[in-house]
């Protein structure tokens, strides 16, 4: 077992974990943060995307021990005081989801994309979300949601 300490959604946590434990397992099974989902489990689909020290990563492809000392933000850490994050709001406004399974990862990746490029073109949005798959193929409204969020200044 290896001792790890990190900040998850603003709270400091510390646990003894097996080195083989994946970050997504740690978030879901140890911390109960089931908002971050496991989709493909092969690092393709992006459903498990979280922010690690401010950048998007696929949490099924990171060991919990590799995140020791880091700051992690999950979909559960976005809303403040009962107010949805502007990108969450945009996905709701534009109906950027069908079954909703890919949504946590889509939103986390969209936030990263807008942080880097506050006013992306449609093509830049589609490229930026390349690592996130929607099995409902609901991409059209997802792109609209990111455009809406950009117009509303979600990155500020």
């Amino acid at each position: 077992m290896t001792r790890i300490t990190m900040t998850v959604d603003g709270a400091q946590v510390s646990d003894d974990v097996e080195p083989r434990m994946l970050l997504v397992q740690y978030l879901r099974e140890k911390l109960g943060k089931t908002g971050t989902v496991i989709g493909c489990d092969t690092s393709n689909c992006g459903a498990c995307t979280v922010h690690l020290d401010g950048r998007s990563v696929k949490s099924c492809n990171v060991l919990a021990v590799q995140a020791d000392g880091a700051e992690v933000t999950t979909i559960e850490g976005l809303a403040t005081d009962g107010q949805l994050h502007p990108v969450q709001e945009a996905f709701r406004e534009c109906h950027g989801l069908q079954c909703g399974f890919c949504t946590p990862g889509m939103i986390m990746q969209s936030i990263d994309l807008l942080n880097e490029n506050p006013h992306p073109t449609e093509e830049e949005i589609r490229l930026g979300l390349e690592g996130n798959l929607c099995r409902c193929t609901g991409y059209h409204n997802i792109v609209k949601a990111v455009q809406y969020a950009a117009r509303e200044g979600a990155s500020s």
């Binding site: 083989r20 092969t42 690092s43 992006g46 990563v57 990171v62 060991l63 590799q66």
Partner: protein, 284 residues
């Protein structure tokens, strides 16, 4: 899927990492960003008893000026390399290839050295680094040695790095002012290239003074298309001249056949993509 049990150390220096390799020998595996290794461990295609994490070794991160070359630390992430001003100025071909490498999340974790040491012949970094004549810095028990790009890639997933050694960085000779393009052919988003071509050219007026061309996924390692390079030198930067030179792209290749295409199809692609890559690099 959960990897088999392993022990884990995260040394703070290259010396400590080398000591861990020396102690555990064949049972040890290095992890850099883990973007290729972790899927392998989860599918239990490999089950090392000890994983040595290079992620805490600060000296392996970053890009620096090294005289006639730039030095890219092995643990610099693809995202960091992709936006680095020294890379943009002196090794634009690498930056171009990185924009096509995997997806944003993988680029945030995956590392320059990790991807090259993994040596997947379909990986996007091998061809540009080979084309630019990169020099690989390899630390071992007896000190650091330099491996030329032509000697680094040995076979599928096999490099000149020994089991008791660590790739610490890559020197990329400066190609300042060269035009560059990476032309990658895929069927779907964030796929490994079926074939890709990395091209850098130095123009003298309307003439191609020098060219460097690397091929991705045309054999068991990344390959340098020297016949194309030689045919391009001194030629006018025109569609006709480049098309003739690109016909030589298949010389010395041994492309695989798989569900994405057979070897003949890949040979065809190599010619077409070489023409496109060179013409775009030349700004034609």
């Amino acid at each position: 899927m959960i990897p088999a049990r392993f022990d884990y150390v995260a040394p703070a220096t290259v010396e400590e990492a080398l000591a861990a390799l020396a102690e555990h020998g064949d049972d040890a595996k290095l992890i850099a960003g883990g973007q290729s290794l972790l899927p392998v461990l989860r599918m239990r295609l490999n089950a090392p008893e000890m994983v040595v994490d290079l992620g805490r070794i600060e000296s392996l991160r970053g890009v620096s000026d090294d005289g006639d070359a730039i030095l890219v630390g092995a643990m610099t992430t693809h995202a960091e390399v992709g936006v680095d001003p020294l890379v943009a100025e002196h090794a634009a071909l690498v930056a171009k290839a990185i924009t096509h490498l995997a997806d944003a999340q993988v680029r945030h974790r995956g590392t320059f050295g990790g991807a090259l040491a993994h040596a997947d012949p379909a990986g996007d970094l091998g061809a540009p680094v080979l084309a630019l004549g990169g020099e690989f810095l390899v630390a071992g028990p007896g000190g650091t040695r330099t491996v030329a790009a032509d000697d680094f890639f040995v076979d599928y997933f096999t490099t000149a790095v020994g089991e008791d050694e660590i790739l610490t960085g890559v020197r990329l000779p400066k190609h300042t002012g060269w035009g560059a393009h990476y032309e990658k052919f895929v069927r779907i988003a964030h796929q490994w290239p079926i074939v890709a071509v990395a091209a850098a050219v130095r123009l003298d007026g309307d003439t191609i003074a020098e060219a460097r061309v690397g091929l991705t996924n045309m054999g068991s390692t990344p390959l340098r298309a020297r016949a194309v390079e030689e045919a391009l030198a001194g030629q006018p930067a025109t569609e006709d001249a480049v098309r003739r030179a690109a016909e030589l792209a298949v010389e010395g290749t041994n492309p695989p056949s798989d569900l994405n295409g057979d070897a003949d199809y890949r040979r065809h692609l190599a010619k077409v993509l070489t023409r496109r890559a060179v013409l775009t690099a030349a700004g034609v």
